[in-house]
């Protein structure tokens, strides 16, 4: 089996440091202390592969070669990035495009890439529907439906894949500048061919504007009723949490974490460090999050600022998950991926999701991802 393998080494670096995407912000991310997410996840993917009949086609250096070499796979470097490691400059989207074209020229059965929505868009723009693709999620924004749920599940999928079965996955991207301004502006790029196997791919992220107003009102009404004056509330991203803010009559960062105390915003669009500092000042803390669209990630995609370090301080019981029934119906699984397998495991097999006024659903957590965990973000 011929596999194209492309690592976007800088994908995902903005997440834990509060940048909504890494494009054009790598220097800022690094200055905020971000570390590379992709290499470790690429290694996790490679270490999970069990089949032996694979030859990889990749780009030199940190775009795949390093991890393949370390893992001992047979591979061919089909492209050398314009600015190799050590030159002080970074790889670009052009490098991804060139590598992708070379993989196609070498008749790869599938192209597997480590990145986010931006990388997916670049890869798809080369492959179209002619070559299968599969993403290993390392980016900040994962709205496309072409990603496996974790590096491990991508490896399992690859191990079970018979080269013939495929399905469609949406390739989407988010306008990064708009995203940073708090506007979710998504575009459907097209439908890629992705491998189909029993291991679930992440569904295309659902935009929750379709939530019924009544359910949102009920949730907001209940959450505001239980809010206490002695407790700091960290309110996560999304329109469901936004309904809580609206009920309180306060502003809300659609795609970030806000802190609320006594019905007032005491911190907006916080990153992990800022949250940790806030925790020094407040004894009681609750975290109100909603799963991200149809992907069902409560933690791990879109709320990376709520890291395992934050949860270690607040405790598991601080987490209040909210979602409408409709949203849950369209969510195949719920996932918690804090970046720390031990922390993931404390959440158990199920989680309570507030879905109405004094009403909750006991929803199963997908243990596969919980147990596999991921590399700590940031």
């Amino acid at each position: 089996m011929k596999i194209g393998f492309i690592v976007n080494p800088y994908a995902g670096m903005g997440g834990a440091v509060g940048l909504k995407g890494t494009d054009g912000k790598i220097d800022e991310a690094i200055s905020r202390g971000a570390v590379k997410e992709s290499p470790a996840k690429a290694t996790r993917f490679l270490s999970g592969i069990t089949r032996k009949d694979i030859h990889f086609f990749t780009a030199a250096g940190e775009m795949g070669e390093v991890e393949l070499k370390d893992a001992g796979f047979s591979y061919t470097c089909v492209y050398h990035p314009q600015y190799p490691s050590g030159t002080g400059k970074r790889t670009t989207a052009d490098d991804t495009l060139h590598t992708c074209r070379e993989c196609i020229r070498n008749q790869c059965d599938i192209i597997i890439f480590c990145g986010g929505d931006g990388t997916a868009r670049d890869v798809f723009s080369c492959t179209g529907r002619d070559t299968l693709i599969l993403g290993i999620p390392t980016g900040v924004k994962i709205y496309s439906g072409v990603f496996a749920t974790s590096p491990e599940s991508a490896a399992r999928l690859l191990s079970q894949w018979d080269k013939t079965s495929s399905t469609d996955g949406e390739v989407m991207d988010v306008d990064e500048e708009e995203y940073r301004r708090g506007h979710l502006n998504t575009n459907l790029f097209g439908y890629a061919k992705i491998p189909s196997a029993p291991i679930p791919c992440q569904s295309c992220k659902q935009i929750s504007g379709g939530d019924t107003g009544r359910a949102l009102e009920e949730i907001a009404s209940f959450i505001t009723e239980i809010m206490r004056d002695d407790t700091l509330y960290l309110l996560g991203a999304g329109t469901t949490t936004g309904a809580v803010a609206e009920r309180l009559g306060i502003s809300h960062t659609l795609l970030g974490i806000d802190a609320i105390f006594q019905e007032r915003v005491v911190g907006s669009d916080l990153n992990e460090s800022q949250i940790l500092r806030l925790l020094d000042s407040y004894e009681r803390v609750k975290i109100i999050l909603s799963p991200i669209g149809a992907q069902g990630f409560i933690l791990g995609r879109g709320n990376q600022q709520i890291s395992h370090r934050v949860l270690a301080r607040t405790g598991r019981d601080a987490l209040i998950v909210i979602a409408t029934e409709e949203k849950l119906k369209n969510t195949k699984s719920l996932y918690i991926d804090t970046g720390n397998p031990e922390m993931n495991a404390v959440f158990g097999d199920t989680i309570q999701v507030i879905c109405g006024y004094r009403m909750a659903i006991r929803a199963p957590l997908n243990r596969e991802t919980i147990l596999s965990g991921s590399v700590p973000a940031g």
Partner: protein, 452 residues
């Protein structure tokens, strides 16, 4: 050994058992909703017949079952006690599982045990019309059945969620001459107020009670009738447990575990109160008595023991009971009969005294048990009854692990022939496991009425 343990008609109990006579401490009195002072019998005469008010407060240990009521009971009573041999075999448990089957009554549940009695006493006192509420429709159809036997009119306010889910229950009521409307309805002030606020509400038992009480209070020669919660309802249902004890004696068995589902509490009271007496008397002190509740509406398991209204609008007396708050509208689970915010004061009192335990279970695990039971024993249980089946199976599986041959008795309180759409949902995988977020709500249970 026989599968069915049957009593002759002349062995049917001639008295109900009144557990008020055996309480260590007396029940806290119901309070008037306006004055917040203990209710006087005369306060209740507006909507209840005198004999039922007397029974509500009576301290006699046993109360005679009128001959005319017993005559009607013989249409299905004594009900059979089954040994669930086939279920035991499927579970590979050493436990001995018995179930009392109340689904043999014409309306298909335990509810006519009190419906007949209540209709009788109303008829004796010259009442011509009765208003009531119903959740899943078991109570409404039972009262419809009972009132037509005594020539009374009957108006039933049926919780809208169930009204839509279970149209055949409405037709049963119609067959027995009753009028059934979805609640909240435009027929009452309380119904209109709720519809104005929330036209799409699925309704709740609390809302339907408000409507029925208002109907009774505002119509001539009309009384109100409640299918659960109140002391006299629990009293009438004790015929279930009294028969069960006789039947167990016939096969020389003593119950180790007694289980019944609990919504308002009368089903549980009916089976368990005679066993609670044995526990209090020291005759069977270790018998474990368990209320099986839905996780979506776990009043005993997660509620607060406090005075609260029995209905949403606050028209009923305040009762000391385990409650989730009278304004709580439970989600539309398929066990519609268990969607009640409170619990019978007698059951609550016994739970507070640790004589009755409780467990809550999720909808899907309940239907898992219902289907397992139906495939083993043949009877398709009502979703409400299946809560008890779930706990009974759990207990039997515990016995399998421990090797204990406990005698487990549960009340299979009704059949599920009108609940097949719920089964359809289960098989389609569309049932949602609702739960009551008790820990969060504990921070905000500020809607209970103050008595000071």
């Amino acid at each position: 050994m026989d599968t069915k343990i049957i009593l002759d008609e002349n062995e049917m109990p001639k008295k109900w058992y009144n557990i008020q006579a055996d309480l260590k401490t007396p029940l806290d009195p119901p309070m008037h909703p306006q004055t917040k002072k203990p209710v006087r019998p005369s306060d209740l005469e507006l909507i209840f017949p005198k004999e039922l008010i007397k029974q509500e407060m009576c301290q006699d240990r046993y109360i005679d079952i009128p001959g005319e009521v017993r005559d009607i009971y013989t249409l299905w009573r004594p009900s059979p006690l089954y040994r669930a041999f086939r279920l035991e075999k499927v579970l590979k448990t050493p436990a001995k599982i018995y179930y009392k089957y109340e689904g043999v009554s014409p309306p298909g549940s335990h509810k006519p045990n009190t419906a007949i009695a209540q209709a009788y006493y109303n008829m004796k006192e010259g009442i011509e019309r009765i208003a009531t509420e119903t959740g899943a429709g078991q109570w409404g159809s039972s009262l419809a059945f009972a009132t037509q036997l005594f020539g009374l009119e009957c108006k039933v306010y049926m919780v809208r969620g169930s009204y839509d889910q279970k149209p055949y229950r409405k037709m049963m009521m119609q067959t027995w001459g009753a009028t059934c409307v979805p609640s909240p309805s435009p027929d009452t002030n309380s119904g209109r107020a709720i519809l104005a606020k929330d036209p799409d509400t699925p309704g709740s038992l609390g809302i339907a009670i408000s409507e029925a009480v208002e109907d009774a209070a505002t119509h001539d020669n009309t009384n109100y009738s409640l299918g659960s919660v109140l002391n006299h309802v629990c009293l009438h249902q004790t015929i279930i447990g009294l028969e069960t004890q006789k039947q167990l004696e016939m096969v020389d068995e003593t119950a180790d575990v007694v289980i019944a589902s609990a919504g308002g509490g009368s089903n549980l009271a009916g089976l368990s109160f005679p066993f609670v007496k044995d526990k209090i008397d020291g005759k069977n002190p270790d018998v474990e008595i368990i209320a099986a509740e839905p996780a979506a509406c776990p009043s005993l398991t997660k509620g607060m023991y406090a005075y609260d209204y029995g209905d949403v609008a606050g028209l009923t007396p305040l009762l000391k009971m385990f409650t989730l708050g009278h304004d709580f509208i439970p989600p539309s689970i398929h066990a519609g009969g268990l969607r009640y915010h409170g619990m019978a004061p007698l059951v609550s009192h016994l739970h507070a005294d640790k004589l009755i335990d409780s467990t809550s279970v999720y909808q899907n695990e309940v239907f898992d048990a219902a289907v397992l039971f139906a495939r083993a024993e043949g009877i398709i249980p009502a979703p409400e009854s299946a809560h008890a089946i779930r706990i009974a199976i759990n207990k039997a599986l515990e016995c399998k692990k421990s090797g204990e041959a406990k005698t487990i008795v549960f009340n299979n309180s009704g059949h599920g022939h009108f609940d097949l759409s719920s089964y359809e949902g289960y098989f389609a995988g569309s049932l949602v496991d609702y739960e009551y977020p008790a820990e969060l709500i504990a921070q905000s249970l500020k809607n209970l009425p103050a008595l000071s």
